[in-house]
Structure formats: structure tokens, C-alpha cells
């Protein structure tokens, strides 16, 4: 299909949760799956506008006539989420992060920002509206050398999440309600499906470069707006997976060609088989009015420092001898800072080994030994011991396992003297007369594990065998 001929236009809308406490209260931003502490029953009404405009999307929702059940946890939701207390002042940390991203995307930032109420009547906000504030406008990013416009950068609260539904009610869990989110709306500057994917990649990298975004499933949501000439805009919801994004877009273009433009602008849910289903009509112009419980926000831009982009970090790490994949892995991880610190301190240890330890080895610790965390201080100690020659890099996995279990004792790992090593290896030779070298190495390493490096043992074994053979 010739996308240019078709007049293909696409834009991205990305929602990314910020790693801070909630936007308008001090509750922690965390999702939970255990049994909720309380439930509350509520009804919501659609509030018509002054001029009788009943928003199409809102009306559609109200028709279903269901009531809402909100379930929550005492530690994660306070009276603000329950719509039983006015919102607190905007979370300064979340605001700072939003301003940082706005600057990274070259946006215009207003002198004063007003938090708005955006009417929402599907029950996902207990108050019947979402609090949202415009942070940046008219920005741009470069994607493979081309400028892609960033129309808006918005800071807003995430909604409650649907956990159940039946004929009479919809149940929402309040843990997610209030988590701060960045909404990035690009201009419809993308002219191919590939360009959409690349843009999503770059935006993702920029956001992760702040080190302040929440990670995990559901922390980022992506919608792609697609239209061809003569067809109204269709918003495809939930296109997070970059690996299959192009296929979804292609399928939608095919679909739009078939329907020949006889549709209203609407939202579609994507399905695993690459088809999509009509979800609801696109709401009309955003129904927003000022959140008068919160005074105008005057952003302080003085303290804002732009972080180094992950892409830049990767280039630096490659210069230190890391392969591209390992560089990308460590640069995008939470251990990037520690990595740099250790490389600078331990000039004699290979940067690649440090990176591998902080990524692959820690992952192995999780998978094989069920050790979730080793503290940064413990990691620093390990490399100190390594530099001092107190432990050997071959046995670093065992050291980390012990540290993870809280059982580390450096004495256990101090290298044996040559004499002691001698004695042990001789014992192995005696006990395994006639065994092949490989088998003896195995037995020797099992016995001497952690006390000498494989090279040492192999060398000594060879020498002693020679000497022994001579006997």
C-alpha cells in the first residue's frame, strides 16, 4: 500500500507513570493484588454543559446506568482518592520531573499553569473528573534526523483500574487512582508505520533517561491515532508492544480503506490477533474547567537539570569497551549510576565485567537462587575486595549469593597459601588415581571452590600430576 498516496497520517499519545508519590496527596504509588481493605458504593451523574451540550461519550456511558464499587487499601488510598477531601497541593517532585521532560522535548512552558477538571463519567475517577495540567506546548524531538512535533506535554492523575463488572455495577480498584502520569501528544507528523515505531522508541528512551519513570506492566500506555485521506481519525488503544506496532497500524489502514470513510471518529481496542474492535466514539472537545481547589501553579525552572540521554550514555560506555547490547542494557538500568562509579574507582577491573555483574549476574541470582536484591553498598564491597585481591572474580557469583543471604564472611574466601593448595590438590590426586584430568579438575574445584582461581588450580594440578607421574 502506498501510504503517501493514501494520505496516511499518524500521531502518538503516550501515557507514562512517574515514580513518585501520588499527584495530589501523599499516598504511595503502588499497585496491589491482595484482598482490599474496604469497598464503597457510589453513583455518578453526567453533568450537562451550560448550553445543553451533553457530551456524546459521556451520554453513552451514562446510558448503561450502572453503579460503581470502589475497592481500596488503607495504606494506598486516602480521603482524597475517595473524593472525601479536597486535593492537596500538586506533588512538587512529579512537577519537577514533568518540567524536566518538557525541557528535554524543547517545549514552551507557561508562566502559570492551571490544573483543570476533565469530565469523566465512566466511574474511573471517583470525583467524576480527572485532574490534569498542561505543562508544555509546541515542542519537538528528533527521530532519525527528522523533527517530530510534540504538541502537548501534560501532567495528570491516572485513573482507578477496572477489576470486575456485571449487569448492575463496575468495580474499580483505587490503588492506581492519583498516580502521576505524563501524557505526551505528538503532532500527526508520522508518515509511515515504521516512523511511528521509531518515534515511540525515541520518546521511551527520553523518558527512561530521567530515571524517574515507573517500570513494569501497565506503567506505560500508548495509543496511536491513524487516518487516511477521506477518513476520520481513529484512535487505537493499547499499542504498547513496539514489536507488533507496525502490524497493528497496517491492519488498521487496510480496515479504513475498506470502510471508505463512512465512519465517525472513534476509539478502537486492539486484540492479540491484530484485529481491533470499536470501543466508543471519540469524545468531543475536551470538557474541561478550572480545578478551583488548587491555586495557579508557577513553575520554578531554575533547579531543572537535563539528564544525560540513555543514547549518549550508551556511546560513552561503548568507548569503555562494552559491546552495544551490554552498553544498552546497563545504560537503561537502575544500576547505571553505580556502574559508572565502580568503573571510575576500580581502574584495573574490566568495565565489561562490572557491567555483566550488575546485569546478567544479578539476574541469575534472582532466577536460580531466588535472591531479589543485593544492596548497592554490598556491591561496592564486593568490588573493593576484588580490587584488593581478597576474592577472585571467578567466584563472584558465590560471593553475591552469600551476601544476598546475609552470610558473607570474607575469611571464607581468602585465597589459600600455596602450601595449603598443594596439600589439597595432592589429596585429590591420591583419591582419584588414574582419573582423567577433567574429572580431577572437577573434584579439585569442588573442594577448593572460592579459595583459588581455576587457572591456579589447573596449573598446580598439572605440575603436581607431572611430578606424581614421575613417581
Amino acid at each position: 500500500m502506498d501510504y503517501k498516496k493514501l494520505g496516511f497520517k499518524a500521531g502518538l499519545e503516550i501515557h507514562q507513570q512517574i515514580d513518585s508519590s501520588k499527584l495530589f496527596c501523599s499516598c504511595p504509588s503502588a499497585l496491589r493484588e491482595d484482598e482490599p481493605d474496604f469497598t464503597i458504593k457510589r453513583e455518578l451523574r453526567a453533568v450537562p454543559g451550560e448550553h445543553g451540550e451533553i457530551d456524546v461519550a459521556a451520554f453513552y456511558e451514562q446510558l448503561k446506568g450502572k453503579h460503581f464499587i470502589y475497592e481500596g487499601y488503607d495504606k494506598n488510598s486516602c480521603l482524597v482518592e475517595l473524593d472525601e477531601e479536597p486535593p492537596h497541593a500538586i506533588n512538587q517532585e512529579a512537577l519537577r520531573i514533568a518540567l524536566t521532560v518538557a525541557k528535554m522535548m524543547h517545549c514552551d512552558i507557561s508562566d502559570e499553569m492551571q490544573v483543570m477538571r476533565k469530565t469523566v463519567v465512566d466511574g474511573s475517577n471517583t470525583s467524576g473528573f480527572q485532574r490534569t495540567v498542561l505543562i508544555g506546548r509546541n515542542g519537538w524531538i528528533k527521530v532519525n534526523g527528522k523533527k517530530i512535533g510534540i504538541n502537548y506535554l501534560i501532567l495528570e492523575e491516572d485513573a482507578a483500574r477496572r477489576t470486575a463488572e456485571d449487569a448492575k455495577s463496575v468495580t474499580y480498584r483505587l490503588d492506581r487512582l492519583g498516580i502521576p502520569m505524563l501524557e505526551i501528544v505528538t503532532a500527526p507528523d508520522m508518515k509511515t508505520a515504521e516512523e511511528v515505531k521509531e518515534t515511540a522508541k525515541v520518546i521511551g528512551m527520553l523518558l527512561r533517561s530521567t530515571g524517574k519513570m515507573r517500570r513494569g506492566i501497565g506503567t506505560i500506555r500508548q495509543d496511536v491515532n491513524v487516518s487516511i485521506k477521506g477518513h476520520s481519525r481513529v484512535e487505537m488503544k493499547g499499542v504498547q508492544d513496539l514489536r507488533v506496532m507496525i502490524r497493528y497500524i497496517e491492519k488498521e489502514v487496510e480496515r479504513q480503506v475498506k470502510t471508505k470513510g463512512k465512519e465517525e471518529p472513534h476509539v478502537r481496542n486492539v486484540k492479540p490477533d491484530f484485529s481491533s474492535k470499536f470501543l466508543r466514539p471519540l469524545p468531543g472537545a475536551a470538557r474541561m474547567y478550572p480545578e478551583t481547589d488548587i491555586p495557579l501553579v508557577r513553575p520554578d525552572l531554575k533547579g531543572i537539570k537535563l539528564p544525560e540521554l540513555i543514547d549518549e550514555k550508551v556511546k560513552r560506555f561503548e568507548k569503555w569497551g562494552l559491546g552495544k547490547d551490554l552498553a544498552l542494557l546497563i545504560a537503561g538500568s537502575e544500576k547505571a549510576g553505580l556502574f559508572e562509579e565502580l568503573v571510575k574507582k576500580h581502574k584495573k577491573i574490566k568495565a565489561g565485567f562490572i557491567a555483566e555483574t550488575l546485569t546478567g549476574t544479578l539476574l541469575e541470582l534472582k532466577r536460580e537462587y531466588k535472591i531479589e536484591e543485593v544492596s548497592e553498598d554490598d556491591l561496592r564491597k564486593v568490588f573493593d575486595y576484588l580490587s584488593e585481591g581478597k576474592i577472585h572474580k571467578d567466584i563472584i557469583l558465590s560471593v553475591l549469593v552469600d551476601m544476598g543471604k546475609g552470610q558473607f564472611d570474607v575469611k571464607k574466601y581468602e585465597g589459600l597459601s600455596t602450601e595449603d593448595l598443594h596439600k589439597e590438590i595432592l589429596k585429590v590426586i591420591e583419591e582419584n588415581k588414574g582419573a582423567p584430568f577433567g574429572a580431577m579438575m572437577g573434584k579439585a574445584m569442588a573442594r577448593l571452590k572460592g579459595k583459588a582461581s581455576g587457572e591456579q588450580v589447573a596449573q598446580m594440578l598439572k605440575e603436581l600430576l607431572k611430578g606424581h607421574a614421575g613417581k
Binding site: 464503597i40 458504593k41 457510589r42 453513583e43 455518578l44 451523574r45 453526567a46 453533568v47 450537562p48 454543559g49 451550560e50 448550553h51 445543553g52 451540550e53 453503579h67 480521603l79 475517595l82 473524593d83 472525601e84 477531601e85 479536597p86 514552551d108 507557561s110 508562566d111 502559570e112 499553569m113 492551571q114 483543570m116 477538571r117 476533565k118 469530565t119 469523566v120 463519567v121 471517583t126 470525583s127 467524576g128 473528573f129 490534569t132 495540567v133 498542561l134 506546548r137 509546541n138 502537548y152 501534560i154 472537545a285 475536551a286 470538557r287 474541561m288 474547567y289 478550572p290 478551583t292 491555586p295 495557579l296
Partner: protein, 429 residues
Amino acid sequence: MNIRAGDRVKLKTEKEEIEGVLMPSSEADVVVVKLDNGYNIGINKNKIKNMKMVEKHKEKEIKKKTIKEKTGLPTITILHMGGTIASKVDYATGAVKPKFTPSELLELFPELGEIANIKSRLVGNLLSGNMRFSHYNLMAKEIEKAVKEGVDGIIVTHGTDTLHYTSAALAFALEDLGVPVILVGSQRSSDRGSSDASMNLICAAQFVVKSNFAGVAMCMHKSMDDKFCGILPATKTRKFHSSRRDTFKVINAKPWAEVSKKGEIKWLDKSYDKKDKKKKLSLKLFKDLKIGILKAHPNMFVEEIKAYSSFDGIILEGTGLGHFPVLEYDKLTAEHTKILKEIEKLAKKMPMVMTSQTIYGRVDMNVYAYGRELLKAGVLGNYADMTAETAFVKLAWLLSNKMDVKENISKSLRREINERIESKEDFLE
């Protein structure tokens, strides 16, 4: 060039050109503009190079709807005194506009149309903390008008902050009331879909129509759920939480009933006055008297008592069973004798009525020495269990109507005093 809020404007700063609708701004040095995407932004005035009008604001016509009265339905008059129970948002300007006419109320609460024929009058729209005794008289007169029109009940919309003062005031002022007068407020603004206004109003209407209750009461959420509203006694209720929907709780008594939007009524106390439209209502209004409320606390000074010397009456919020620091204990408490002398002096000039700052429980100044001193000094209110707010209203009312305070203050005239307080496992429940 006369540019006003609501006009579409284009303004130029050094960096850019911004177009949108001019909004009213709460800050003098900031211009607020609504962009086409709906968001408002603020620009420092000193950064604006020029601003020109793109299009003048046109007041869009609001189609007026006429409602047909249903035959066979009872009639309720809604008197608006504040506590905006109904509003619409003008998305073009972001303004929230309160709505008072019957047709607007029926548009926003179509359920009302199934319950009763609605008359509606705007009496005032004040923040309830601003109310004065004259406003109680205003409300009482409007209620009298409605009663004379033969309506089946009256709903008064009111701010929640002092709703309990007004409910007590109306209970006293409306003597021989033969129909229900239900006060309704909302803790969440009515421009939002989650507002408690709609349920409070509809439950009040259901209660008026489906029960034979007469008298003043308030109708507010029973819990944080949208399940039931409580019909709460006018003189035994108080606002207990600054923001929760279920902020109103009853003290030393029970709610009359619980009501749902569908009109189910669960009675908790059936000793109410029965509806009788033939009863002749008489108004006993308030004079603009000076009544103060003084709260006892550690480290008090005689000046605090003296401050009320020119008043017509004082309500004392004593500690515990009804105490003020009027006895000396050691060298440090010399001030207390001064306080006692001042109270003795004032008690000769004006009624001083004791209540307890514990809110729950009864006043009994016989038990401790300083209580007995207060009784000797002439402080009234012994054995009563009125809240300070209800006592305040009652004292003002007794004085306004030239009734003997000593004789009437500890007598229950509008169920404001309990002869008996029953035990409950959790008295706060």
C-alpha cells in the same frame, strides 16, 4: 478597545503567538487564556507585547424548557439559601453556574419529577458561615409563605458549615409546624458527577412525600457510600468532619430515619410530630442580639471573660461536666479568682449558659468544686445535654421572644434536651 473575559483573543509574546478565549484571572499580573484544547494557561502581563480581539463573546441562548405539572403528585417547595445544590458548567468559559429554577432542577434531577411537583425560590446564596440571625428570619418567612400555599413539604438548600445552627434556629422559630422542613446541603460541589447533592436532595424529597413526618430535620449522607441518607434531628446534630459526605452525626440521640433514593424508609425513632396541614404555623423570630460563645482552656485570663461584657448573653463551652477555671489551687492559679469574680459580675447582667466541649454527655456542675462555684455564680444550663451551637441558638431565641431564660433553658422545647441518655457500645457510632 474593550476586551473582556469570554472574548476570543490573540496575544503576542517574545516567543510566540497565542490564541484562545480570555478567562477571568484571579491574579492581577497574570492573563489567563483558554486554548482550543480546553486547557487554561497563564502568561505574565509584562511578557505580553500586544493583545487583540479576534471575536467578541456571543452569549449563547439557553433554551428554556417548560415543565408540565403531573396531576396527583404532592408539591414540594425548594428554597435556596446557599450550598449550591445544582449547577452547570459553561465549558466555553469554565464558569460553574448555579441553577435555581424548577425546570433547571428537573433537568438536573429528573427523578424529582417522578416524586413531586416542584416549586423553587432563590432566597439567598450565601456561604453559610456568613449567616446572621436576620437570615434565619428571612428563611422562616419564606417557609411561612410556602406553608400558606398548602405545599406538602419544604426543602431548604443550605451550606453545610452552619447547617446545624440553622436547623436549630428554624426548629425554634417555626412553632406548630405541621409539614416537614428538610435542610439539605452537599460536601462536594455540584458541578461534579460525584456530588452528594443529588442523593441528599432526592432522598429528602422521598422522605417528604412518603412519610407523615412533620418538623425541621436535615438530610445528609449516612456513610461514604451512596446508599442511605440520614434524616437527622434539627437540634441534636453537628458537623463533625471538614470534608466527608457523612459529616453530620447525631449527639445523645438517634437519627429519625434512613432513606434511600428509591424511597425506602427505615425508621429509627417514631416519636416525631405527625403531619397535619391544618396546623397553624406561628413565627417566633430572632432579634439581632449579641450572643457569644466562649471556650474554656488551660491558661485562661480574665480578659477573655471581660471581652463579652457588652453582650446580651454568653454560651460557655466548659471542660468535662461543664467547668471553667474559677478556683485557685496554688500560687500559679491566682488568675482564677479574677475569672470567677468576672463571671459572677456578668451573670448578674446577662444569662450565661454552660455546655460541654466534650460535645457528648450531660452537663452537671454539682459534681466538682469548680462546677458548684459556677452554679453559685448563677451560671445556667445544669443537667442539660445541648450542644454549644444549639444552646447558642436557643438562648438567642429565648431572649428575642422575651421568654424567661432561667425557666426555659433546661427545659426541652424542641427535643434539644434529653431526659434520658441511653447507652450504646460506641457512643460515637
